[in-house]
Amino acid sequence: EDQVTQSPEALRLQEGESSSLNCSYTVSGLRGLFWYRQDPGKGPEFLFTLYSAGEEKEKERLKATLTKKESFLHITAPKPEDSATYLCAVQGTNFGNEKLTFGTGTRLTIIP
């Protein structure tokens, strides 16, 4: 069964203090790894898809990277509006199984 573990569970940073969030996964053949952002009281919002080891994606202050066993979400010079829970999910190659397996997320707080 696919598994996703995210660390740390919570992270508090000062505004401008860069850091990384970790997502470790086990999957029987990776079709894709996905990062989502979830604000309180809202549904998750898609950020990135990574398909193969070595791939990187960037969006504003966020950069996602992928290895064969884990993914990192790097946050550079964060701002208070980057505060949210960041969820990692994987989709395996089991044909016909479209489900995403999510981790429990990292709750990020950026202090002004």
Binding site: R31, G32, F34, Q38, G41, K42, G43, P44, E45, F46, T49, T85, L87, A89, Q91, G96, N97, E98, K99, L100, T101, F102, T104, G105, R107
Partner: protein, 111 residues
């Protein structure tokens, strides 16, 4: 114009009652999902429909019954509600691999 909308946003009900949550998407996607997010924020899939056909049915009690009248709608009916059913339920739709658009969630509280 909301892409994935679900109603109601909040639902408080007594144990043993039957309730429904409705979901509609205007994105033209073929696949729709129901996810459950527990108090620890763990998001787990319950059901998936593709073009009105059930394709994923995780180990969910049969008190939960999804219904898809057309590919833009996926409703969730829950019979004989229990305390442990309290959670936030998210509807989502998808066209591309893994890129799901989620609704705002329905916070169900069973008392």
């Amino acid at each position: 114009d909301t892409a994935v909308s679900q109603t109601p946003k909040y639902l408080v009900t007594q144990m043993g009652n039957d309730k429904s949550i409705k979901c509609e998407q205007n994105l033209g996607h073929d696949t729709m999902y129901w996810y459950k997010q527990d108090s620890k924020k763990f998001l787990k899939i319950m059901f998936s429909y593709n073009n009105k056909e059930l394709i994923i049915n995780e180990t969910v009690p049969n008190r939960f019954s999804p219904k898809s009248p057309d590919k833009a709608h996926l409703n969730l009916h829950i019979n004989s509600l229990e305390l442990g059913d309290s959670a936030v339920y998210f509807c989502a739709s998808s066209q591309d691999l893994g890129i799901a658009f989620f609704g705002q969630g329905t916070r169900l509280t069973v008392v």
